[in-house]
Amino acid sequence: MIYMALFGTSVCGVLGFEYWQTARVIADQTDTTIEVETQGLAEHYREFGLAQLIFVIKERARNNPNLQSIYLLTTPKYKLLAGNLSAWPEQARGKPDWVNFQIETTNTKGKKVERPARAQTFLLPDKFHLLVGREMTERQNIQALLTNALVWGLVLTLALGMVGGILMSRHVLSRIEAINRGSRAILDGDMQRRMPVTGSGDEFDRLSENLNAMLNQIEFLMTGMREVTNDIAHDLRSPINRLRTRLEVTLLEKPNPENIKSVMKDTIQEVDAILETFNGILDIALAESGVLRDNFERVDIAEVMTDAVELYEPVAMEKSQTLECSIKDGLMVQGNRNLLFRLFANLLDNAIKYAPENGKISVEAIADKTFISVVVADNGPGIPPEQREKALQRFTRLEVSRTAPGSGLGLALVAAIARLHNAPLKLEDNAPGLRATLLFSKNG
């Protein structure tokens, strides 16, 4: 509404100005013409005398039977001498000046009509009165036309403006309302709902796309949390149950100090295993939440990898495995040094665990202009393609590894840490074996 008022006022202003200028130009033009003619006639009188002036005026009057141009010459006492007016207008008596008055003419149909006229009066030497003017109908018609045009222009502009304004605001409001509707639906519990995208690529679409990206992220985090609670419930129940049973049964037996001591030692071990699982789940959840990104620092991946290789080298040696290393110098990224070490430690641990005796494990880190590529590969049984995605989930124990020790969280943690560092983990066939790749984007 305010916009409309402002718009309307400015349009009025512009049109009004135009009108005033145009009207003035037309008025000025007419007056100038009259003025020039008046001066011309006065000159004529001065040069050639009264008789000649009368002659000229009579001729001009004859040429203007319908009073398009008006001429009148009178004596000092206003007695008619020449011209096409029947009498000296009353308004014109007095000092020589511009005067507007009405004249009587016959129109094309023969009727007598009154028309507006404008004239200039002039006092010739010897006090003769000269009047020169023009009939103003046409000028007034033009003025009326102009006014009309301007008024209509104003009305049209205001109307169009109003309509346009309403349409536009309706459009904007409807887009906003669509987003509001979506938000309310989500708040009411429809977590799958997303904001509408019309495909026009305008600001509202961009807003919707950004909101949708946020919602996807929230959904991902919520799913993660749900999974954590599920995992905790599911995978801690069994060991806790085992623990309880063992303690209960021991209570039922005859008290035997040796036995009790050994049961307690086993219990501590079992509790440790439970704690390990518990901490593993929390670590993954923490890594997935992205909170740790706030404390990222510059980390040399080459250094971390070399340290990890050095830590696991004796373990590989025990299985007579060869550990091949090709790590380029100085590969810097933004990240968390301890988590990255855990990532490589887990990958190496897995590789050594699954590769056979005398097997081969290779560790590689290279960089090009945009990426740092890290690969840990082994020539063990590998993971069949259809099971690769599942392998990254928590607590998955693939057939191959059912008998091996570990909590089943290793790869899940690796995947979470990799995602936290924007270097998603890719599992491929090492023909034979598993090839785990991470691509870090270069960061200074």
Partner: protein, 226 residues
């Protein structure tokens, strides 16, 4: 050795006190922050064990206050807070070590011992001896019974750490921190393998085994002949 435990969980504090007393420590207990701060200021302790989540007060505040008044008693933080910067903040506030709950009691004991030993100027030493095993930091050499032993750099660092903590229990986590400078709990037996390699070199061909495995806790390098 006098230890002050500032912990609001009565049961946990009681068990901790009992365990520490078994090991020969004299233990006092404060259940609130203000009480703990008052006790720590009034009395002389060899070690403070401070829980971070105290009613109405973060344990950090107590330690910061102590450090400001030039009290340099070693502090071990216990906390259920395990975010990355929590540990850093704890150490920055003046803490000397940080253990997250739940922890193994053996780990707690080992770290307490390490902190207490640290306080008695071992850092300046350049030559370490345990029985007939000798490590020279300046010469980077290791000998046992006069015989030279060749160690790789990491093995040397490992032995140095064990010798600095000779007679104490050293946990796997402590080794990973002190020798490899990474902070987490290594699940698999990776540290064990390094220890056994070291053992091969310093114990196998000699009479008395010095590098012991302490079941459920970690390792210890000690003179078993004494």
């Amino acid at each position: 050795m006098r230890v002050l435990v500032i912990e609001d969980d009565q049961e946990a504090a009681a068990y901790m006190a009992k365990g520490l007393k078994e090991q020969g420590y004299v233990v006092d207990h404060a259940a609130t922050g203000p009480d703990g701060l008052a006790l720590a200021t009034a009395e002389k302790y060899d070690l403070l064990i401070v829980d971070r989540m105290l009613p109405g007060m973060d344990g950090l505040v107590i330690v910061e206050a102590l450090r400001k008044s030039a009290n340099h008693t070693p502090v071990l933080f216990l906390s259920a807070l395990a975010q990355v910067d929590d540990r850093v903040r704890g150490l920055q506030a003046g803490g000397d070590d940080y253990l997250t709950k739940p922890y193994a009691f053996s780990e707690l004991l080992a770290r307490i011992e390490a902190l207490l030993r640290r306080n008695t100027a071992v850092s300046e030493q350049t030559v370490f001896k345990v029985a007939d095993l000798e490590l020279n930091l300046l010469k980077r050499s290791v000998t046992r019974a006069g015989q030279k032993i060749d160690l790789q750099p990491r093995e040397f660092k490992l032995l140095e750490y064990l010798m600095r903590h000779s007679g104490q229990v050293v946990t796997r986590t402590m080794l990973l921190e002190g020798v490899w400078d990474y902070h987490f709990d290594p699940k698999t037996n990776v540290i064990d393998v390094h220890i056994s390699r070291l053992r091969q070199k310093i114990d196998k061909d000699f009479e008395a085994p010095l590098l012991e495995t302490v079941r459920g806790a970690g390792y210890s390098l000690r003179d078993t002949t004494a």
